[in-house]
């Protein structure tokens, strides 16, 4: 994960659900690039292409509500998005984004401060989002979560963990 | 009229399923433009392939069909869940002795077992001729008479005999011909069992199959329609191209093996072949008799853990009756999965897809490579008893050991 990302914004509203992000009929693969070919398709056939022209997805409240399907996060990775900024996230999407290595930022003022196509910059170390209308701060993620995100998701994280530790940890008391 | 003549006959019943109506409707409206349907009341539409569409494409096809029926004022539309197209047509009294029945489903000859002249004709034939003019053209076929003599051995059903004939005589043996089935076996079978012979005459490429209707057929029809009909009897001097006699006493349970329907072997020759799916359904399975036979074998036993057993009743009425008889409970307790009355896994339009390396044994009618998903999957066809025994063993199995 890069410490800073910068790029053009694609804008969505509140309560964007996982059926809209990636329909169940496309869950036949777990390859992010293949999934990206169908991202947001339900909104129009042009959407998967459109998505690729942007770098950062900005949405309102409750982004990613609905199913626990992880592909809702990984298809965005496949589409080349570098981060998602939302006023709030549904919790399964939040977890799935971390697990697929997609940086997420919860920062409510951003949604109202940008237009589609404008540039924003996110600085993860400082916890800021800079928009044409000003810079906003967001609380950082807990270190244990950042550890997963930093290596690019849960699979690389597990690979690393087992390469160093060798065996699973002992069972809880 | 003599064999070889072309005749144009008035059609009494046209049977469509969801796939054939869609294709015929498209041809009728886009190629045969500006015509109206002469006899809407003779058209029977049954949605049996996409019984609960898993795809938008399926939903669109059914929707287009409903709209076609509405546009052309077709009153007899049986929507998803009613049953298999042929049995639904029978159940609702559209088939009578002496009737001329056509459909673009290749198994339309099944109705010859009720004394109808029934055959499969193409969508274009129906769109260009039957719908606008109410007729169909036929070349009068030469007729072969097959005499089936004797009684069936334990564990052997009409299905096995019909399949045995295909294996013995060949897949194109009766090309362009009609077969009349007779002999002392037939009166010993219930009416629905007899239907297996004309049904499977298509596997020998016959144009039609026929059984001279008797009182049992008349009673069966009377339960389903108030319309009058005549029991058409053969002319005493009817001419047959040939008459052949088969003794059925020695016939064993039969299995049609990949890659074609004519690759028929006694079950003993293929027993032990592992299977992952078993299905009782389709036009030759899933009748009340099949469900009873299935329950007889499964009662108190469990389907093998590696096998998915799928049961598809042929009509809603059969399912209802099977519920009342406690059959469904027996099947469920054995681990079977019951599906809506339909064509089940036929062509895997709605269910029953196989991946490479998998095998299915079923009472369906076709086993060509790619019929149900991967061309590298294998499909075996057999009687309900054999499918039941195989579901228990996880391998193709001889049903006779379960039928002491």
């Amino acid at each position: 994960m890069e410490p800073r990302v910068k790029g053009r914004v694609i804008l969505f509203g509140d309560n964007i659900n996982t059926d809209v992000i990636i329909h169940a009929r496309h869950l036949r693969t777990i390859d992010p690039a293949e999934l990206a070919e169908h991202a947001f398709e339900v909104l129009g056939d042009e959407y998967p292409q459109k998505l690729r022209q942007f770098d950062i997805l900005v949405a309102g409240e409750n982004f990613g509500c609905g199913s626990a399907r992880e592909q809702a996060a990984s298809c965005l990775v496949g589409a080349g998005l570098k981060a998602v900024v939302a006023s709030s996230f549904a919790r399964t999407f939040f977890r799935n984004a971390i697990n697929t290595g997609l940086p997420i930022v919860e920062c409510p003022p951003v949604r109202g401060a940008v237009q589609e196509g404008e540039e924003v910059e996110i600085d993860f170390a400082r916890g800021t989002v800079t928009t044409p209308k000003g810079t906003f701060t967001f609380p950082g993620l807990p270190p244990s979560v950042m550890e997963i995100l930093a290596v690019g998701g849960l699979v690389p994280y597990l690979k690393r963990k087992f390469a160093t530790a060798g065996a699973p940890p002992p069972r809880a008391g | 009229m003599a064999p070889g003549d072309v005749v144009v006959a008035e059609v009494d019943t046209v049977i469509f399923h969801d796939l054939s109506l869609y294709l015929t409707g498209r041809t009728f409206e886009q190629e045969v433009k500006g015509q109206r349907i002469l006899h809407p009341e003779r058209v029977v539409i049954v949605f049996d392939h996409f019984f609960a569409p898993a795809t938008e494409e399926g939903a669109r096809i059914l929707q287009a069909n409903r709209e076609f029926a509405r546009r052309h004022g077709l009153p007899h539309l049986f929507d998803s869940g009613t049953g298999n197209c042929h049995y639904t047509a029978i159940q609702h009294g559209f088939i009578r002795p002496g009737a001329v029945v056509v459909g673009s489903d290749s198994h339309t000859p099944v109705h010859g077992g009720l004394g109808a002249f029934a055959t499969g004709i193409g969508n274009n034939s129906i769109a260009a001729l039957t719908l606008p003019y109410g007729t169909a053209w036929f070349r009068v076929p030469p007729t072969i008479k097959l005499l089936l003599q004797g009684s069936l051995a334990r564990g052997v059903t009409a299905r096995d005999v019909a399949q045995y004939l295909v294996g013995r005589l060949g897949e194109d043996w009766a090309g362009y011909k009609a077969i009349e089935y007779a002999g002392d076996l037939l009166p010993r079978l219930d009416v629905e069992e007899r239907l297996l012979f004309p049904l499977m005459c298509i596997d020998m490429d016959a144009k039609a199959g026929y059984i001279e209707p008797d009182e049992a057929v008349a009673a069966y029809i009377r339960q389903r329609t108030a319309q009058s009909f005549e029991l058409v009897r053969n002319d005493p001097d009817a001419v047959y191209e040939s008459v052949q006699t088969f003794d059925v006493e020695e016939v064993e349970p039969q299995v049609a093996c990949p890659p074609t329907v004519g690759h028929v072997k006694p079950v003993t020759a293929v027993a032990g072949e592992p299977i992952q799916y078993a299905e009782v359904g389709g036009t030759p399975g899933g009748r009340l008799g099949d469900l009873r036979r299935l329950a007889r074998v499964l009662d108190g036993r469990r389907v093998h853990p590696d096998v998915r057993l799928q049961v598809v009743p042929v009509t809603r009425e059969v399912f209802r009756q099977a519920l009342d008889e406690g059959i469904i409970a027996v099947l469920h307790d054995a681990g079977a999965n019951i599906f809506p009355a339909s064509s089940g896994s036929n062509q895997s339009t709605n269910m029953g897809a196989l991946t490479a390396g998998q095998a299915m044994i079923s009472t369906h009618t076709r086993n060509f490579p790619g019929r149900n998903g991967s061309p590298e999957a294998r499909i075996f066809l057999a009687s309900t008893y054999t499918v039941a025994a195989s579901a228990l063993k996880g391998r193709i199995a001889d049903p006779r050991e379960f039928l002491e």
Partner: protein, 169 residues
């Protein structure tokens, strides 16, 4: 050259080719051009890649068995082939092909006498197949007059339009 006289390259397939292999169920509702791209792909993958308008498909016994599927001859026609010559045809396909005006010819012994890639000249009306590469002529079974009339008209619908909804003998 009329539609009932075809000259082209020979493509060969074996016995008992089902309609499932001509148009798989999954392609049943696609446009004909799309269907044409998959015709016989599971039994002869090179066919759709190399077939040219006017080519000749030669098959063994019982060609196009299995489901009635009248789209099968339409999909074959959409590949551009001019005629199908086979040892024998399944009944429904025989009907369907004539009804849509796709020339077909029953020719016992054909598979022994032509090789894939041979140049063939097929005269449907006369019931003759000439193997121009080998310099041989093979006698086939010409269609009966009734079906010949249908073929000439371009299929059943065209025939009925031509004759005002009547069959003429």
């Amino acid at each position: 050259m009329s539609a009932l006289r075809v000259r082209g390259r020979c493509w060969k397939v074996g016995d008992n080719i089902p309609t499932d292999a001509i148009v798989a169920t999954a392609n049943l509702f696609k446009p004909y051009e799309e269907m044409a791209r998959h015709v016989l792909a599971s039994v002869h993958p090179e066919f759709v890649l190399g077939v040219k308008p006017g080519d000749v498909l030669v098959a063994g016994r019982h060609f196009a068995c299995s489901s009635g599927r009248a789209v099968a001859p339409k999909a074959l026609r959409a590949t551009g082939i001019g005629v199908v010559v086979a040892e024998s045809f399944a009944r429904t396909f025989y009907r369907n092909a004539h009804e849509i005006g796709l020339p077909i010819l029953e020719c016992p012994g054909i598979t022994e006498q032509v090789r894939e890639g041979d140049e063939l000249d097929v005269d449907v009306e006369a019931g003759l197949v000439r193997n121009l590469t080998l310099g041989q002529t093979i006698q086939a079974v010409p269609p009966p007059p009734f079906l010949r009339g249908m073929l000439k008209a371009g299929g059943l619908h065209a025939y009925l339009e031509l004759h005002g909804g009547e069959f003429v003998s």
